[in-house]
């Protein structure tokens, strides 16, 4: 059974069709990339799936549950967690406080019954993500890479079945991207289903096994990274339409 099914998803903003009958399936344990030029609708897609934006028609079915109409926190408690394109730090708190917030959700509390278990799990996650020695640091004093990693750590605390990452590599140096990549791959190896929106395709294409390409709110291609980069529609979407005067590629 597919862990996530998106069918015929449509979202209009006034006269603008931001998403037009988008559909794709995600299987358990998969690691899927969603790519497309700027403004294609990728973040809008995430916002609709995770309950932050209502959509006009279509279905989003996660683990057998229909997600339409559910509030974002309810969707998280079903096991679907997302991160954001721009980092969302909890300014004004220490790292250890910030990472505790998701541990208060229903899902996290039912996974780890004792407080001690939960705390150990949290500290474990932070250590694995490289923030083990930053527990007492104020969030305001972390750099961009650390904030990104903290976002992902917080997402993991909700014990998700599927993790939706919106541009996780954005703003990171090469080494940091490798680090985050490695962590994502490890999580996926342990059974976590991952869906990633990214623009930094050099790294993404090495990480994922399947790619969905979106342009102007429509799915224009789906396949392995190797298949995708040879797809003329994809090349055209990224590099622009072939003009009569010159050829490209």
């Amino acid at each position: 059974m597919n862990v996530l099914e998106v069918d015929d998803l449509t979202k209009n903003f006034g006269g603008l069709e931001a998403l037009a009958r988008i559909g794709f399936y995600v299987q358990p344990g998969e690691i899927l990339g969603i790519i497309g030029p700027n403004g294609a609708g990728k973040t809008t897609l995430f916002n609709c799936i995770t309950g932050f934006l209502p959509f006009d028609s279509g279905y989003v079915i996660f683990d057998g549950h229909e997600l339409r109409g559910k509030k974002p926190y309810q969707i998280v408690n079903l096991g679907l967690t997302r991160t954001w394109q721009l980092v969302r730090p909890f300014f004004g708190m220490r790292v250890k406080e910030a990472i505790m917030v998701p541990s208060f959700c229903h899902r996290a509390r039912s996974t780890h019954f004792s407080k001690k278990d939960r705390e150990e799990a949290i500290v474990g996650i932070l250590k694995e993500m490289g923030l083990g020695n930053k527990l007492e640091t104020e969030v305001d004093n972390l750099n961009q890479g650390e904030l990104r990693v903290l976002d992902i750590s917080r997402a993991l605390v909700t014990d998700p079945k599927i993790l939706l990452l919106d541009e996780p590599f954005s703003g990171l140096s090469h080494r940091e991207v490798e680090n985050v990549s490695r962590v994502i791959r490890n999580l996926n190896d342990q059974g976590l289903t991952v869906v990633i929106i990214e623009h930094r395709l050099r790294e993404l294409m090495k990480l994922v096994r399947k790619v969905v390409v979106i342009n102007f709110g429509q799915k224009i291609a789906e396949g392995s990274p190797e298949e995708i980069v040879q797809e003329p529609r994809v090349i055209e979407a990224y590099l622009g339409q072939r003009r009569p005067k010159i050829g490209l590629g």
Binding site: T50, F52, K71, P72, Y73, V76, N77, T81, R82, T83, W84, R88, P89, F90, F91, G92, M93, E97, A98, M100, V101, P102, F104, C105, H106, R107, A108, K115, E136, R154, A155, V157, T158
Partner: protein, 325 residues
Amino acid sequence: MDLKRGLARVIENQSPFGLLILVAMALLPVISDNIFYIEIVKLAAIYAIFAMSWDILTGYTHEVNFGVAFFIGGAGYFSGILNSFFSFSPYLAVPLAALAAGILGIWIGYLTLRLRGPYFAMATLAFASILFKLSFIFYEFTGGEEGISGLEPFTDDPMRDFYVAWVVMVVVYFILCIYARSKHGIILKAIRADEDATQSAGINTAYYKIEAFAISGLLAGIGGGVFAHSQMHIGPTMLSGYLSVIVVLLAMIGGMGTIVGPLVGAICLSILNESLRMVEEYRIMIYTGLLILLIYLAPDGLINLRSIKNSRILSFVFLGDRKST
């Protein structure tokens, strides 16, 4: 389970300065039996209750509540009416009034849920204004401009009355400290920083916002009831926008989001205000001028000053922060 955890954390993170102030206030009647001073400090204690209860909502969510008079005066009148028309003892009337205030807090919290920034502030102001007007319209019950006089005090000894106010203030202080350090406080801080991200963490933010409003209303209501019975009078000034603004100022100057800040701010400034009556002609000018100066020097409040936060000693003394590094 949360209570024990919160309790432990509170005890280990107590602000020494805050405790000092609490103890100092308790010792006052021992040192001096001048009724005049006792009354001033009693009033200061009540204002501290107002300021702290305001802080748990606005200090922790940064949505500015400009209608705290709604709960103070509302509960004051409710308790006053229960007492003078229905002969309820103040020990019963005040808790009931506070409960009513808490329930109204749930209601207003729900109504203002989607409002942000200035719209939230205006809505809270509107509720307080409506109640203010209603107190004139239903003058048969509320005594209109004159309010209700002859309310029963808690005890027949002003000294003991002082301790009633003091005990209530201390209890409110500790309740709020526990609440603020518990998961509720952490979640409110998270909502303050980024509500969407808190939703993404699986938290039902609406619930916690309403809960904070209710607690804030309930505790402000306790303050209002205590005030009414300690003055033996409740009048429209306790529903006025002026009162709301004063509470906001006291709490902000003390230092939002700390509970200790509003406690200290309210007490020190109230005592100062009353002491300035000696130079009554200049009192308002000096007092207001001082408030303006303090806001300019410390926009986040005195307790939140950078110089305090950065100093290990000072941040321990005032905020109870123990830094491990």
